[in-house]
Symmetry: D2
Subunit: 254 residues, 4 copies
């Protein structure tokens, strides 16, 4: 079972409209600081937040209790002019877990509801003892040398954003979630995904884009344990200690 | 003439490798706080920064002098464990301006250079008296009601990321730049783009995605003036004071 | 037993000298963001950090293990251009605990050592089962009405800073620690301090300054539990549900 | 003429009471991030903010117009759950300037007013052409070696806080303002203060505390210019290029 948390700003769009026309830079600062803030809180509990759309963030939250979610929710609400609500979902597949996390929050009220405020929505999600996260850390081979150092900044970004869209779809088709994480880095939350299935995604991606991917895969009881082990694998490829494009870190879960 | 600044972290990838395997959450915090920081500095000078890929940000910097760039560059360098370099470019079209900003920085050294550090690269870019920015603020009609409140969070994000990729290409073809700005919001830096050309982009986008866009367009001597005026137009559409999907704010430039 | 952590920036003074003459505003930003950062990390573990001198912060860290200290130390070191070191000390009295925390760090090297970097200094400090924190939350009666709204801002600050100095000495004489916490608020870490002894401090303070103090006192296994209970007491006085100047929250420790 | 700005949180105390008993760590984060935020904004306009009591900050704001104050005030108000108000005052002496800045704000309403919100209070303060700031950057000789590395952290802090109180009074008697700035550093805003008068303060301070002070003095049209020049002087003493305890940087004002 993997546990995902959807973090959604309450009535954000309508609120921003009240701030006057010259608001955009302040909203950008607010959004990115809120994300950094949540990342810090979740990370200390070994979770990991993806910025996603900024007004809707997704976090892998295995091992983080409802009560710990509440503490984080309240802490954030005290320090920002907008509140956040959260939905928690658990399932075997990451895709299904975020479906459940979304549903439980949608049932409380619209993202534009004027009354929904600082809600923590969840079903009894007691997955203790079965916690498990599989993560793949992915990047594009030679991106700095071939793109960043050669093409225009916008062209490089276009390649990344279109790659993100392509990969998001491919991973969803396997029940997994793919997030762009800055630079040329992607993190896939991919419980149950076989190495061969990942290889297939990489091959199809290369066929359509002419870009080669590489990845380390790790497992753990929580997001950061799994990601740390995935990094070990990716690091082996980067320093060319292996010719494989995918390294699975078979390290026993602690 | 529009002026664009490319902000690039120096030797970022190799540096992150030194931080140990459990680094990702700290990198995410670092990246988003650095972006917030730069946004604050540029915004006070009426510029606007796009997070783009986070290790490569693009800013509309009309009216911000080389010396003011230097002050910001030094301030950031003092407060972060990684340094940044910048390239400044000016041209008639936004696309060309970012090409020049990228080139001038690439000529100084690779993004993975171990010696390039805190460089401000620019050609004599004296565009005083001809400063001009055109910005379109764009969002998707009924996105919260039709997507955020109905579909799963990941599915909604997929729609946004694939829309971003499609729009980035369409705008580039017109010499303009399109950035995703969180939520269902996009900002296009689009000097010289006619309303009819934007209409054409919107129509083609609707054909391929079945999503309707709307936009306000504004002009100004700098990014924030232009964006504020674009917001006035977008606001008129949102409150249904017009049935047009694109409102051009004809307000005289101050 | 109470556990205190001294957080000291490594070789901070000499490092600042390298930044050029126009550095002060950046140092101020750095110092206060580092403090906010550490507060967030410690608070999620129910600890509390006092800004103190900013380059030397003190934290009540009961219940936070050596390993958890290490995680926080590493996280901060990754995101700032200067590193921090920490010393942990435990004792019956708060004063003695900070003496031990200081000593164990001093033994590793000078605050201006060029080689001491990111050190976590501690003796086997296994105080599990005996964790206990007593905190008094103190403010000055009618300060806003009598001072902030009447006197000049500097004069009000002078009263606060000189009050801080007086109270720091009085509490130290009782083996307790007093910190200024902004506004007209003080927090005393005061394990073992009797209500009568606090009353005596308040009386002597009033005699020398003509200012009346009030306080709530709370107990807990960690800093935030104790402080929350102290706040309950202080709140009763503020809303005039009691005429006593000191309310001890006798709530059983959880 | 020197211009000072008082920055005061609106109805802060009563607002904090609404946040529940477990609020203190969040308030500390909020206060220090707000200070960092304002420092960044003022510094980009060559001003300097002192954290002072955190709910009441003082800034040297020469050269920053009323309109620029308004932009900063609005930017902050959009991003925090509490608003701030400001008062601006100009006078020949720094002390008098802060008296005027306080008065003009007090006249608008109490710091605990429920209706005063995001106000910028000022009299016609057109001091263009006469802008002038004198700053002394002061520290304590050998503080790290004699105190930080030898005494307990609390004892060192006590010395700093009681020194601050003593110096605040001494400078106020000369019409100047003294602020503690972290570590063992003090910044005095001291237009018109002669070197001999500063020497006299240092001598009296040494007599009563047995601590020796040193200082660089600088002048400028704004806070950061003056402080940068003061740093040049202080630096000369630190590297022992002079035996004088006070170095006045006679550099012509630009």
């Amino acid at each position: 079972m993997i546990q995902l948390t959807l973090i959604q700003l309450d009535n954000y769009g309508p609120w921003t409209e009240l701030l006057g026309m010259d608001r955009e830079s302040d909203l950008q600062i607010l959004q990115s600081e809120l994300y950094a803030d949540l990342q810090r809180l979740f990370a200390l509990k070994r979770g990991l937040v993806f910025f996603n759309r900024f007004d809707n963030m997704l976090a892998v939250s295995n091992g983080i209790s409802v009560k710990e979610h509440e503490v984080m929710l309240r802490s954030v609400t005290r320090r920002y002019p907008v509140s956040i609500s959260m939905g928690i979902g658990s399932a075997e597949s990451p895709y299904e877990a975020q479906v459940l996390a979304t549903k439980v929050l949608q049932e409380i009220g619209s993202a534009h509801s004027e009354t929904r405020k600082s809600i923590l929505a969840h079903n009894s999600n007691d997955n203790s003892g079965q916690e498990y996260v599989q993560i793949a850390h992915i990047d594009i081979n030679g991106f700095t040398m071939n793109m960043t150092d050669r093409e225009s900044a916008y062209q490089s970004s276009y390649v990344i954003y279109s790659s993100t869209a392509i990969l998001m779809r491919m991973f969803a088709d396997k029940g997994a979630l793919l997030f762009f994480n800055g630079g040329d880095n992607f993190i896939a939350v991919c419980n149950g995904l076989k190495k061969s299935a990942l290889k297939e995604i990489f091959d199809r991606f290369e066929t359509s884009t002419n870009l080669k991917l590489k990845a380390g895969i790790g497992f753990g009881k929580n997001a950061l344990d799994a990601l740390s082990r995935a990094n070990v694998g990716l690091s082996l490829i980067r320093v060319k200690k292996t010719n494989d494009a995918i390294v699975v870190n078979e390290e026993e879960m602690l």
